[in-house]
Symmetry: C2
Subunit: 198 residues, 2 copies
Amino acid sequence: MNRIITVSREFGSGGRELGRRLAERLGFEYYDNEIIKQIADHTSFSEEYIRQIIEGKTHRLYPITINNSFSYISDSHAQMVSTVYEAQAQVLRELAELSDCVIVGRCADYLLRDYKPFRIFVYASLESRMQRCMARGDGENLSESELRKMIRRIDRNRARYYGDCTGQSWGEKENYDLCINTSGREIKDLIPHLEHLL
Amino acid sequence: MNRIITVSREFGSGGRELGRRLAERLGFEYYDNEIIKQIADHTSFSEEYIRQIIEGKTHRLYPITINNSFSYISDSHAQMVSTVYEAQAQVLRELAELSDCVIVGRCADYLLRDYKPFRIFVYASLESRMQRCMARGDGENLSESELRKMIRRIDRNRARYYGDCTGQSWGEKENYDLCINTSGREIKDLIPHLEHLL
């Protein structure tokens, strides 16, 4: 069975960077946003609509693409969300079968549980996450207060999506093998030592 | 400033072994039960009474030693608990000033926060903890159901004591730098790699 590492992360904690660097270090495939494109290929939905669902911020009325034409949905929202969930699980299983890999987000820790992934959760203090966001230019036009709200909103959405998809609580340490607080730490310094703990 | 590592742990998770092995590996002092003796030296209380308080299972009527004679307390229980807390904080500060060290339990992650300790929390699934307890002979005369209850009771007491002492939630990952799930893992295999993450 291939080795699978899943990385879940609070927004601004450096979790994505940690996943990418870890994959580079280990010579594993790395999957993140490309999963959305693959889900689109498995369904009739646009990448944008899938992104909205996966980021937990779908609305009941949202334009979708079916057979290259746009339409609006209302009634069958729940059915579509369910279709995306199923496609997501299918895509993840296909990737897990292909090769050793690191997967960031996408509820992979839960959806790939039969593959016994090593499950990492990356978190940090709100202050540290704001600093990291500012350093990388996320929300560069926002005030501090607006940035704080944005971080909280994104995490609230992630938690809701994860909860809907898995029935578990996002970020609850019992669901992970290792939880790393990156407050005041350089991600690249953690990688050489982290690989041996997997 | 000396390097301080604190280890908090669920009962049966192997946290104490992890702390001891880590101290050996790093050449740091290791403190655990001896702290109770030192608190006794700082107060008029017996080691047994201090242990009861620290393990979160004090009763309102409990024999204590004052000037080498036994007596029973009732009214000033809260005051005595507070005295133990203060003595504990004092002992921990004295140890932190002495040398680099690893301290298991005793709310040291919170009480030594001014020393910027590296704070580890060790946890595991209930099943894994039961196996570890049975392997080391803890609760050897208990049925599985009794052992499960014992583990839960000990952790409930630890959580209460920690909460009373710190105003924080025991085991909440935000209060730690690294949380390690030891389910199905050998503690000794973790140590060589863990030291570099501190």
